[in-house]
């Protein structure tokens, strides 16, 4: 067993040696992989951040329920209690028609002018602050429609239509990130498989000799596979550095922008989950690429 491990370590070291023998092209490949992986990773992190911005927004979604005129106070109370019990509700606020009038007077500046009205034209309303778990626009929409069927209710609406729009946009961006990641992953495979192909052709004589003395294809393939994995992982490390640097450059301006609206938002940097995802992706893509290249070209090299 130790003998077996030792042998793999030897092959691994030999692969590192092979890559180190062509430092220029290895470095270039690693950088290209790094940039390629950095792009989707960065977008992913930005979307992640944007989501948490929306979640923490002060004006989190709320539903205003306007009641009909002349609803009995008893009915208003029971409706209020019922709405407070709903799972979507975080907290609830009753604004009586008098309170509404007061607020309107002070805010509008029409103050005195409204005194000439003999009757208060403003309806009482209930404001529901939606809980975090029910942030999905579809859920809120359903709630609004349900409330509107109540006889006491004149109109229910949720004002934050932009939240809905933002959600849709984010979903779109998220999809785009996935598509982009797939495309760029394919690019990584093409890059690594090309360098693997060149590595194989460069070592053609050696491969022929190995075959002549009885090396199996599996044995010959191994150092190239290790080479692919090493390049992929190094590329991922490069991507992690690129993303960290870019995010730290963006950090200042974004914090300023956020401060304009509501302060207190710190952008989260690259997290362990993203780091491990990048490393695994780099390694797997490198392995896949080397495997396809080696499989195709090794069979074609036969000693003469």
């Amino acid at each position: 067993m130790t003998e077996y491990l030792l042998r793999h370590v030897q092959v691994l070291l030999a692969s590192v040696g092979q890559l180190a023998r062509a430092p220029g092209s290895t470095l270039m490949t690693v950088c290209v992989i790094g940039i390629t992986l950095a792009l989707p990773a960065m977008l992913y992190l930005l979307v992640d951040n944007a989501k948490s911005v929306i979640r923490n927004w002060q004006g989190r979604p709320q539903v205003s329920v306007f009641l009909k005129q002349n609803v009995a106070e008893q009915d208003v109370l029971s409706l209020q209690q019922e709405l407070a019990r709903r799972p979507e509700t975080e907290s609830i606020e009753l604004i009586t028609s008098d309170e509404a009038l007061e607020e309107f007077k002070t805010r509008s500046g029409f103050g005195q002018a409204l005194d000439i009205l003999s009757e208060n034209p403003l309806p009482a309303s209930i404001v529901i602050h939606i809980s975090d778990d029910a942030g999905d626009p579809a859920v809120i929409e359903a709630l609004v429609r349900d409330i509107e069927t109540r006889p006491e209710v004149d109109l229910a609406q949720w004002d934050l239509a932009w939240v809905k729009r933002l959600h849709v946009i984010l979903k779109l961006v998220q999809r785009a990130v996935i598509v982009l990641a797939a495309l760029l992953g394919l690019a990584v495979i093409i890059i690594v498989s090309n360098t693997s192909r060149l590595a194989i052709l460069n070592r053609r004589d050696e491969i022929e000799t190995m075959k002549l003395i009885g090396a199996t294809d599996g044995f010959i393939r191994r150092p190239f596979l290790y080479g692919g994995v090493i390049q992929g992982v190094l590329g991922a490390v490069c991507a992690i550095i690129i993303v960290s640097v870019c995010l730290s450059l963006l950090d200042g301006p974004i914090a300023e922008l956020m401060a304009l609206y509501h302060g207190g938002f710190a952008m989260s940097g690259i997290n362990p989950r993203t780091i491990s995802m990048l490393l695994v992706a780099g390694g797997v893509l490198g392995w896949l690429a080397a495997r396809t290249a080696v499989g195709r070209h090794l069979r074609r090299i036969e000693p003469q």
């Binding site: 003395i213 036969e302 003469q304």
Partner: protein, 224 residues
């Protein structure tokens, strides 16, 4: 050990390199394979290690039917046959030691055993002092001896050589051929392609002569 039964080899170009060749080389036997350039000597050796496959007839090596062997069994066949190539085929970016160790590494021999066997093989060709050097630092004769050490390090029962003394001066050439002779005396079956008839007179071994793809001498076992 090696049995050719009415073997013909036609290359894709249509050239018939071997025609109806039959002979039997016994265990522990040594034979020279001679013939003019283009007679088919290299082709015959390539068939034995399945670098080429026969077009017609049957070829048995070490009790294995090489003709019908599946591709995945070829490495095992080649590990049982030591081959010395004319251009020795050493790897330039590895030391003498690593070159000779290659067949053992390929066969999955343990680390310590590799050291022991490589030094024993290098000792036999008198190159123990040069194990740390790279092939390019050696003379032609020394490189050829490294090639021989690599061919025998895995103790194969069969040893093939394709003009192993090609570019060497007569003295070195004799020396190399004597090494083959010694291995044969240790019980290895040896088949050497050469165009230096001098060795034949000197060592008095069986001769297989090819002429334009036909075996014209040595088909049955008369010696000399």
């Amino acid at each position: 050990m090696i049995q050719f039964a009415q073997v013909s080899k036609r290359y894709e170009s249509g050239h018939e390199a071997l025609r109806n060749v039959s002979f039997f080389l016994e265990k522990r036997e040594m034979a020279f394979l001679i013939g003019r350039s283009g007679a088919g000597k290299s082709t015959l050796l390539k068939l034995i290690i399945r670098v080429e496959n026969v077009t017609q007839g049957q070829l048995i090596v070490n009790e294995r039917n090489v003709t019908r062997m599946k591709d995945r069994h070829i490495p095992r066949l080649r590990r049982e046959i030591g081959v010395v190539f004319q251009n020795h085929r050493l790897l330039h970016d590895r030391t003498v030691f690593d070159n000779v160790a290659l067949p053992l590494v390929v066969s999955g021999v343990g680390h310590r055993e590799i050291g022991r066997r490589v030094r024993a093989a290098l000792d036999k060709v008198d190159l123990l002092s040069k194990e740390r050097l790279y092939p390019i630092m050696l003379s032609g004769g020394e490189q050829q001896r490294v090639g021989i050490a690599r061919a025998v390090v895995n103790r194969p029962p069969v040893l093939l050589a394709d003009e192993p003394t090609g570019n060497l001066d007569p003295l070195l050439s004799d020396e190399i051929m004597d090494i083959f002779h010694q291995f044969n005396q240790f019980g290895v079956t040896v088949l050497v392609a050469t165009h230096e008839y001098r060795h034949i007179d000197r060592l008095r071994k069986r001769v297989l002569e090819l002429d334009n793809g036909r075996l014209v001498r040595g088909a049955s076992e008369e010696h000399g």
